[in-house]
């Protein structure tokens, strides 16, 4: 069985159709890239998977490990092991990053009927994960993402992913706004989290991220549907030829 099954998914936003019968199967341990031109529905797919309001699913289903995902609230999906790395991580003034991480982790553990982590154990995990991403502890005392640079925000997303240990991580345009050095730190962070028990969906417009996070499968999304699926060489082909052909194909 696939870890994630998306079947014939139709989604509307404000009455406008964005996803048009999207099918996607992702198995455990694999990394799938979803590429596509602007407006093809990439971010919509990410948000629908995470459970954002304002996205109306008019048809189709999404199963995580065979269980329906669409009926769950965003926090329940997170507790089931779904993680969305945001394209634009939000700033939360007044909430210290450390407190946020701890609240999130313990909320998920509680929902899974696991014991809360003791403070020393939690601190140990945060410090280890932060060190690997070159995040200093001073940053963790600051309010979530407030005053963080673009690179720091993205590293903070990966830190959350490392701590929350999802089964399925969706990375929405994680490369946007990053220079090549920051991109490398983030990609290394993601690669360390690759595991036979975890799948990832990497959503990106550009091929360059995929030089660092090498996918097993590449999909091309156009006009709300997967129009082509291939190996990692498909990304190189897109880089060379652009999306022009796909926009025509879907039209």
């Amino acid at each position: 069985m696939h870890l994630l099954e998306v079947k014939n998914l139709h989604v509307e936003v404000d009455g406008k159709k964005i996803l048009n019968g999207l099918d996607l199967s992702v198995s455990k341990g694999s990394v799938h890239a979803i590429m596509g031109p602007n407006g093809s529905g990439k971010s919509t797919l990410a948000h629908v998977l995470a459970g954002k309001k304002d996205y109306a699913v008019t048809q189709g289903e999404v199963l995580l490990d065979g269980a329906d995902l669409l009926d769950l609230s965003p926090d329940e999906r997170a507790a089931q092991g779904l993680f969305l790395a945001f394209q634009y991580p939000l700033e939360i003034p007044g909430v210290a990053t450390m407190n946020f991480l701890r609240t999130a982790l313990n909320a998920q553990r509680k929902k899974r009927a696991e014991a809360e982590l003791s403070t020393p154990e939690f601190m140990k995990r945060v410090r280890e994960a932060a060190a690997k991403l070159s995040i200093d502890t001073e940053m963790l005392r600051r309010p979530v993402n407030v005053g963080f640079s673009g690179g720091e925000k993205k590293r903070n997303e990966i830190l959350q992913m490392a701590l929350l240990e999802p089964r399925l991580a969706v990375l929405d345009e994680t490369d946007s706004g990053l220079d090549i050095d920051a991109l490398k730190v983030v990609a290394d962070g993601v690669n360390r989290l690759r595991s036979p028990n975890r799948a990832m969906i990497v959503i990106t417009h550009y091929q360059r991220l995929l030089n660092h996070i090498v996918p097993d499968v590449v999909h091309v999304l156009s006009k709300g549907r997967i129009v082509r699926t291939g190996g990692k060489e498909l990304a190189l082909e897109l880089e060379a030829n652009g999306y022009a052909g796909y926009q025509d194909e879907a039209a």
């Binding site: 909430v95 946020f100 609240t103 909320a107």
Partner: protein
């Protein structure tokens, strides 16, 4: 009499006039103070209870809200004292010197007057007035920052008891002083308290004031604090409004601030049916740093009005005003803030910000900032926001596994925390955040 009294119309005004006539002979203080009371009451009679056409009271129509005036509070009985004993629990975790007032009267046996720090003196205002304490009489007799205000005038007419606190020049009082004001009887009465705090040059003190009473009882409180702060002193003042759910509470701070002072004021309101917090602050010396902040957490049909007048009378003063309101159900939060920069008060720097978080469609926030600037080399600004919780922020928290209600609570705590953070005393800060958490938990 007749020329003045014809303006008196409402039942509440009539009752107050009767109360004053009956009580004035036994209210503490003779001579100058008695004259001052008479003048103040005449002033009240001329003005009457303020209503919505009086600009300063536009959003808090006291004439409509005060259907009647309650009889003056009696001497506290055993039961009242028993309740006062546990009052002020909101800061129970803070090691503070408790000075307790029940029904507005000083209760020495419940107050901690042992081992007063050198330079600190604490006394009862009623006693100081009765004994004719010259300094007290002079300070209460002179026009202060709240001069002309009708609620303060009414307080001057009826003032019963309160604290007289003096901190000598250079004395640093580390342990906070907690003035506990409790309404403890089951009778709906009116309490008029008046406190006078005089801080010497280079002195330091943290003053906490809490006001509370039983739920469901429509008692009335009019409390005034006159604060005089000497040069270079550091004063932190935190006022906690934890009145009963049907209470009417009007409080006035009249502060005169010296040069190079650091004054931090925080007003926290979670109780009361109708609350009006008035802050009249005058920077009477150069280069003072003033922080006026506050948070109101309201639900049901609660109404809380913060009205401040900050007078930058001399050059170089720096002030920050930050007020947060969390408004649920049909509650209403009012903020009126006026900053005056006098001619010649150059290099004044004032920033005023108010934010209201509306948790329900029926909640209401009213905002009226005013800047009156008569100097040309100043920096003054104000801003106001009112809105619901940010759904995108909530989604971010929920996407990390935090349930709906917890995500809201976290965001509300963060919202209030931005103001509470400025409180210098860590214990008080924590106590207030715990009170916020309890308020949120009760909200369900």
């Amino acid at each position: 009499m007749s020329a003045d009294t014809r303006l008196i119309k409402t039942a509440a005004e009539t009752t107050l006039a009767d109360s004053f006539a009956a009580a004035k002979a036994r209210l503490p203080g003779k001579g100058e103070i008695a004259v001052r009371r008479e003048e103040a009451f005449r002033r009240f009679e001329q003005l009457g209870l303020p209503h919505r056409r009086v600009e300063e009271w536009k959003y808090t129509d006291l004439r409509a809200l005060m259907r009647d005036a309650k009889p003056l509070a009696q001497v506290p009985d055993a039961r009242s004292k028993q309740r006062a004993k546990t009052a002020g629990a909101i800061v129970a975790g803070v090691d503070a010197r408790r000075i307790v007032f029940a029904e507005g009267a000083f209760v020495p046996e419940l107050s901690d007057l042992s081992q007063l720090e050198p330079g600190l003196s604490i006394a009862s205002l009623a006693r100081a007035l009765a004994e004719g304490d010259a300094d007290v009489v002079a300070r209460l007799g002179a026009p202060g920052p709240a001069e002309g205000d009708v609620a303060a005038a009414l307080n001057t007419a009826f003032m019963g008891d309160g604290a007289v606190i003096r901190v000598a020049n250079g004395a640093a009082i580390v342990r906070p002083i907690h003035l506990v004001f409790a309404h403890g009887t089951d009778m709906a009465t009116t309490i008029f308290t008046r406190s006078l705090v005089v801080i010497g040059d280079d002195a330091q003190v943290t003053l906490i004031e809490s006001h509370e009473g039983p739920p469901g009882l429509d008692y009335q409180v009019n409390a005034v604090l006159d604060l005089f702060v000497g040069d270079r002193a550091r004063v932190d003042h935190v006022k906690l409004g934890v009145e009963g759910s049907s209470a009417l509470h009007v409080a006035t701070l009249a502060a005169t601030i010296g040069a190079d002072v650091e004054f931090n004021d925080f007003t926290f309101t979670i109780g009361g049916q109708v609350t009006r917090n008035q802050l009249f602050v005058r920077c009477a010396g150069e280069s003072a740093t003033v922080g006026l902040r506050g948070a109101n957490l309201l639900k049901g049909r609660q109404h809380a009005d913060t009205t401040l007048v900050l007078d930058h009378a001399l050059p170089g003063c720096n002030s920050r005003e930050v007020f947060k309101s969390v408004l649920d159900d049909e509650s209403r939060g009012v903020f009126q803030g006026k900053i005056i920069v006098r001619p010649g008060a150059q290099k004044s720097d004032a920033r005023m910000m108010t934010n209201a978080l509306l948790l329900s469609e029926a909640a209401e926030a009213d905002n009226k900032p005013e800047l009156e600037i008569f100097a040309d080399d100043v920096q003054c600004g104000h801003g106001a926001t009112a809105g619901a919780l940010d759904e995108n922020l909530k989604f971010y928290l929920m996407a990390r596994g935090i349930p709906d209600g917890d995500a809201e609570s976290l965001l509300i705590q963060a919202f209030v925390g931005e103001a509470v953070e400025a409180i210098k005393h860590d214990g008080v800060k924590e106590a207030l955040m715990e009170a916020v958490v309890r308020w949120l938990a009760a909200r369900g």
